[in-house]
Structures are given as C-alpha cells and as structure tokens.
Subunit: 364 residues, 2 copies
C-alpha cells in the first residue's frame, strides 16, 4: 500500500467553525480546571510554559488561553500564591493564517491588563508553526500542552494507486472492507505514537496534557445511529453522487480517523509515556444546540460548519464549481435527518500526566 502526504488540517475546528468551540470548551472546562489544579498541587511553576496545538486562526483561537489563564488565576488565589508569568506557544501548520491570529493578540493583552490589573503576568504569546506529528519544542521545556479538535486529523491519507480500496466512499462506511479500516487504524496508531512520544519529550516530569477529539461511539456500533460523524460523510457522498461522476469518489479519502475510546486508551497505554488521569466522552449536537430553531436554518448551520473544514479537501477532488450545490443538498439532507433524529458528534476528552523520567529510570 502506498501512502501519500496530504495537506494537514490541524486546528481547523471540524464541524464547529465558529460557535460550537464555545460549547465544546464549556463541556471541557471542568476537566481543564481539574487538570491545571492537579498540576499546581504537584508543583507550582512560577512561570507556566504551555502550548496549544492546532490553535487555528479564527475568532476562537485565543478562547482556550483565556480559560487557562482564568483557571490558574483562580487556583493561585485559592493557594494564596502570587501571579505566575505565562509563556504560551500557539501552534498550527505553516499554512495557517498566523497574521490573523497574531493581530488579535494586542487586544487579548489589553483585555487581560484591564480585567486582571496592570501587574498581571506578564504573558508572552509566541507562534510556533509546524506539524505536531513530530517534535515542536525543546526537551522538557513545557508544563502543560493542550489540543482541541485536532488529533483526529491524520498525517497522511492512504490508498492503493489505481485500485482504490474504498470504492464509492470518502471515509469509512458500513460497506468499507476491513483492510481499509485497518489501514486507517494503523495510521492512527502510528500518528498517535509519534504525537505522544514527542509531547512526552517536550513536557517536564509530571507535566500534563489534555486533548479533545471527535471519536466514534463503539457502544452503539450496530444501532441505526452507528458512527454519527460518519453519517455526515455518508450524507456528503450521497449528495456528491448526484452531481459528480461516481468514479471520482474512489480517489478521495478524508484525512481523519475517528477512534473509539478503547482505541485511544490502547495507543496511550502501548506508547507508555503517560498515565491517564482523566478519560471522558460527551456528545454535542451537529447544530451546536441551536435548539428548537427553524429546522432548515439548523441544517444550514450544520452544513456551514462541515463545509468550513472539508471544502478545501473536497474542492481538490471535485472542483470548486460543485461546492455550492453540494452543500445546499447537504443542508437539506441534514435538516430532513434532524426532523426525526438528534444529530450528534461523539467526543473523547483525555488528560494525561508525563511519566517520562520514571520510564527512563525503570529502563536504566
């Protein structure tokens, strides 16, 4: 099997282009606070060195920083400690819009100064471009690493040239041959092993990492709501079939993999650098809880968020000219589905503690 490299999409918040990250972040908040509290009870770094991997560049890119700073501010008040300083690295791929991100930093600093007082911090925010499936930072130089909705993106996409394994589909589907599923899982395992090993080398002993990703709910594998996220890619496929030649589908494989909780646990334990301190799953709706709003609008919103993250990949394969039509059909299909069902994404949240040194000591 040949592997080709694809343009990665770290940090492009899948399906949650602009509003939903707030919902996801609010669901992840207690875990973030608890993770940071544990970090600060272990040892209180006077300067917290941290990184946000796959930060993207949209209006929500600095949201996490604010949550993190507020959490630490609350913890240090409770522990009666002085304010720490912050060094924060914002990471995404080289082709991310860093200008947009960097130009939002002055008002972020200004807001911090206004709300926390002039003596707060200082807080030094740097941009660290690069692929997180590899090393990004110096040895044992960080206390905390965060990544939201990025590690389900794969580093590559695999297919057999000339003989597509996944005929008529763009991601795993009910009829996908086992070998395709295994190729995706294998790539997931290899990517995550590199990811975990790299982060464990970059974190201090006892350093913490927390990440959220879209996964799939193995417990409902054979229910009608099987692979909810896959359902949206299946919808995309059926909408595409009306407007493109079907054989064009054979070359397109989406560069993500949505693991089950067990697959995530397995790779963390097998890689061996981290102890899992928190492992949660939760669901968010396709339309980010727009609730009882107009069904057509909810469909359009869900479609817009899917479009935001998949359009560049789909355009490469099927051409820009079909995109408007595709996503109109897609929005209508999503609306119809949501009339009868609750469209939901299944999320996995993991918090881990670096045991790099102890592993080293055991092996020496």
């Amino acid at each position: 099997m040949e592997l080709i490299h694809v343009e990665l999409r770290q940090g492009q918040l899948p399906l949650y282009a602009s509003f939903a990250p707030k919902q996801v972040m609010s669901r992840a908040m207690p875990a973030l606070q608890e993770t940071l509290r544990e970090l600060y009870l272990d040892s209180f770094p006077e300067c917290l060195k941290s990184a946000d991997l796959g930060c993207s560049s949209g209006p929500n890119a600095l949201l996490f920083l604010r949550e993190m700073i507020d959490s630490i501010d609350a913890i240090r008040k409770k522990l009666n400690k002085t304010e720490p300083t912050f060094q924060i690295f914002l990471n995404d791929l080289f082709n991310n819009d860093f200008n947009n991100l960097i130009r939002s930093i002055p008002s972020f600093y200004e807001e911090l100064r206004r709300e926390k007082g002039g003596d707060f911090g200082p807080c030094f925010i740097a941009a660290m471009p690069g692929n997180f499936y590899g090393r990004l930072f110096l040895d044992h130089s960080l206390h905390f690493i965060h990544s939201s909705y990025s590690v389900h993106w794969r580093s590559q996409v695999s297919y057999e040239f000339g003989s597509p394994l996944n005929k008529g589909h763009i991601y795993l589907a009910r009829i996908t041959p086992k070998s395709v599923y295994e190729a995706y899982l294998d790539l997931f395992n290899r990517d995550m092993t590199v990811f975990l090993k790299s982060r464990s080398e970059e974190l201090v002993l006892g350093g913490r990492m927390m990440f959220t990703m879209i996964g799939r709910d193995a417990s409902v594998n054979f229910a009608p709501i099987y692979h909810r996220f896959l359902l949206t890619t299946n919808f995309l496929v059926s909408c595409l079939k009306g407007i493109i030649e079907e054989e064009k589908l054979d070359d397109c494989n989406m560069p993500f993999y949505l693991p089950t909780p067990e697959e995530v646990r397995y790779v963390i334990q097998k890689e061996g650098s981290f102890d899992i301190t928190r492992f949660e799953t939760f669901k968010v709706t396709w339309d980010a809880e727009m609730g009882d709003g107009d069904l057509q609008m909810r469909g359009k919103y869900a479609a817009a968020t899917v479009r935001a993250v998949s359009e560049s990949i789909l355009t490469t394969h099927f051409g820009e000219e079909v995109m408007d039509g595709l996503f109109e059909r897609f929005a209508s299909k999503v609306s119809q589905y949501m009339k009868l069902h609750k469209g939901e994404y299944f999320n996995i949240l993991v918090s881990v503690k670096n045991r790099w040194i102890s592993t080293l000591m055991q092996s020496s």
Copy 2:
C-alpha cells in the same frame, strides 16, 4: 511637549529593502562570528536560545539565522563538540507579515537538513510578535540576541500640537532648532534605556547581544557630507515641496533617530547592564555597491530602497497619489548627487555582554 504614538517600523530594513542587507550582513559577519565564539568559549550551551529582533518578513528575514547557525557549526567543529539544538524567536511588530515569514521556514529547515545532514539540530523557529521597547521573553531565558537595522526606529514621534518645532522639515536638518534635536535625543535615550534593560533581563548572565543601526558620523559634522542619511530626507523634503502644500510638512516627523557613536556608547554605559565588547562603524553606499552601473539605474535603486521603508509614513501625511511623482523626482535628485559624490550611510555595530547578575550583586 505632547507625545503621540506612531505605528512602529521595527524590522523594515531602511534603505536596504532587499539586496543591501546582504552587504551589511557580510560587513557584520566577522563581528557576529567573534561574538558567538566568545559566547561559546565562556560556556557551551547545548541548546542555543536566541532571538532576532525586528526580523521583518522579506526574502532576507532568515539570512541572519543561516549565518548564525553556520558560525556556531564552525565553532563547535573547532571545539570538537556535538551539534547544539537551536530555539530561535523571530520578532517583529504585530502588524508584520508573519504569514510570509512562517511560510519560508519549511524550505529553510529542508535546506539545513540537506546541507548539514539529517541529525543536525533540531532547530525550532518560533515567531514572537511585539514591541521590543519593552519585554518580549522570559527572565534570563536567552543566550544571544541579534537586531539588524531596527533600533534607529523610535517608539514615538514628538511634536508640539499646533506649533510644529521643525517647520518645513521631516527630520533633523541644518536649520533644525536645538530643542527639536534634544527632543529626538531624549527619546532615543529613553527608548534605548528600555531596550537595554529589557534585553538584560531576558539574557542569561554573560549572554550576548549584537545590533547594527544607521547612525551619523559626528567626525564630519560640518563637512559638506554632513549627515549623509539626513541628506536623503532633505532630498525627500525638497522633492515634496514641489508637489504638496508646504505647511503639510510641518506635521510630519520621521520616527527615527540616527545617533552618533558617542551617543550610543553613552546610553549603554549609563544604563549599565552591559559591557561593550565590540564597537565598530562602517559605511555602505546608497545603492549597495552597484558600482559603475548606469547612474540613473543606481538612483532608481537607491530611491526604491528609501521608498520601501518610508512610503507608509509619507502616504499617511501626504496621500498615496503623490508617491510615484515624489520618488521619480527623488531618484533623479539622488542620481545627480551620485554623479559628483559617493552617497553613503554610516552604520554603527555594537556587541555587548550581559552583566545583569553582577550589577544585582553589587547593589545588594
């Protein structure tokens, strides 16, 4: 006197938009090599943490990094040491084109890997946006700081509202009242004091800094070539006078100050954090040694480099519509001058060593 903040122009390489930095860098190379050699003889950091302040975003932005890495590679070979790793921060203002800069990093990494071998480094290049007249990095976290052609830019521009001190001029000129000169010098002293204090807090004990800037040659103060760089601003003024209302000149004061070597020495010694280890002056021609080429072309080139750095300031004051005409006249004036004289900029190169800890110990 009221002070207003202006959009800073750190890193916009004045007068050397694209070709001249190579010439300046080649003149500064021996000093860079010597500074790094001294740093490595004092102590050999296994990971060199460094920053380039006012890096800009043009094709030359990564030139210095390459020179630095090559120098250190040569030193460590001579000392028979293993290759160090590198953490490098590229700094410029928030409105710099960081996208352009960051997108040039992958080929830079690729070139390093190809030329130095796969085991070289690793080298982690981050972007650190912000104003260098203030703190940018954590306490004592860097070994080496470099800045090329940036610290002659001032943090502000000063004028008395309603009563311009420098009527009919955009920078210091022969007829400038002493009070205007003193206001510029005072601002230079205040800016440089903040700059030096910030850097000394960021560098480790014994850490090194090297910077180059355009200055003025006090030894020829009353000669016809008095204030060569000022000559180009005087040319700009005389060209402007033909195409704008003269009173418009009164509100425009260029936000740079070109100090004499003595003024630079004085502020470093007065601030007190650094020992001067190297202090040089050298000249480069307006047309970056285009030599005996067509005089008109040399004038156009010199004008283009001046335009690259001054256009945004001039446009704000005089409007975009006059720029083409202005720089045509300017190029012609420069050509005429170069027919009889050698147009040159006077440069100051300073290398310093951080004595922060010893200062602290003396005061305690």
